[in-house]
Symmetry: C2
Subunit: 210 residues, 2 copies
Amino acid sequence: MSDITIWTYDWVPEGPRGFVRDLRLRWACEESGLRYRVKTVPFKDRQTNHLGQHPFGQVPMLCDGDIELFESGAGLLHIARKSEALMPGDERQAAKVVQWIVAALSSVEIVTIPWWYIEKAGPSENPLSGWMATRLDQLEAVLETREWLVSDRFTAADLLMADVLRDDKICDFGSRPATQAYVSRAVDRPAFQAAYDAQMEHFSSSSATD
Amino acid sequence: MSDITIWTYDWVPEGPRGFVRDLRLRWACEESGLRYRVKTVPFKDRQTNHLGQHPFGQVPMLCDGDIELFESGAGLLHIARKSEALMPGDERQAAKVVQWIVAALSSVEIVTIPWWYIEKAGPSENPLSGWMATRLDQLEAVLETREWLVSDRFTAADLLMADVLRDDKICDFGSRPATQAYVSRAVDRPAFQAAYDAQMEHFSSSSATD
């Protein structure tokens, strides 16, 4: 049973559409067959208008009954524990799913997000490029050995890792064919497509603006 | 019951001693009253000598019976679920602990670690300084309102957040008195001191070198 609400912005510019992180929670619900509703906070003045729900002024937030969470990674862990579709019941395999969820955040996004933050400013040289290439190459070596990260099946770990990697501004797929094939396998899933389409529809149908 | 092994390096230079992340797992065991043993991989050639245990060539790794994990955040979540000392039994409060563990990694370390990576090279200007100051100020506003992050008591969330913040190279405590007091409360705990002393003793007594 669930009573899930995913909170996101009422509107975003075209650039980030398809990449706002409510998509991670939508995707998790779609994989799990859990129904959810969407509520919004204004994009305008987002840095300060919902600090009571999210101390860093971002999205998404997740409500499930009386549980209220910010951080997409925490929301994903919460949804994953409700569904065998995302998290194997076996304790050892479940621990591996948690491990790879943390790795996606703490070993991959920890360099890809700051790299992109710097890159957007158009520097002559990005001081994080070397570290990022090393990390993505290390991940390529893992993905050369397996179709999914844990248990030979799609789990919440793949949902998050693929979402971290799928922006081709972040990952140069040309030199990383195993990563490219892995991301393709993940985003070809009907649950990703449903979540993606729902996010795009949400933002394009909004009457709000910046 | 537990059969915990924490893996770290056999030796590190003086600079990182007291900050190698096996400390997070030692601290968690000390808070929980769980006994653990320590095993090592060589610091020399660390990028490639233990890729079978850690695909990014780092430490720590955690073994607990037949569960084997890399990522200190994943190890911390595993230990925390074994002990009320780190994770309240109440589902709603436990979800908040997970949320703040993810926030420490995904909203705070995601800027502090890359900032420090760049800073070590001595740039004339660090492109992540503005983002880092904003994030630490947002956290200061949270810590002005409470002694601990969840449930008015120390939890695994505080263990990790305090560890992320305690290096005064990262956090300018002068303008953030609530953060400074929070970190002091955390590191004054006997369990932190025991973990810290054990790590310092481990590295100083090693006969290995780079």
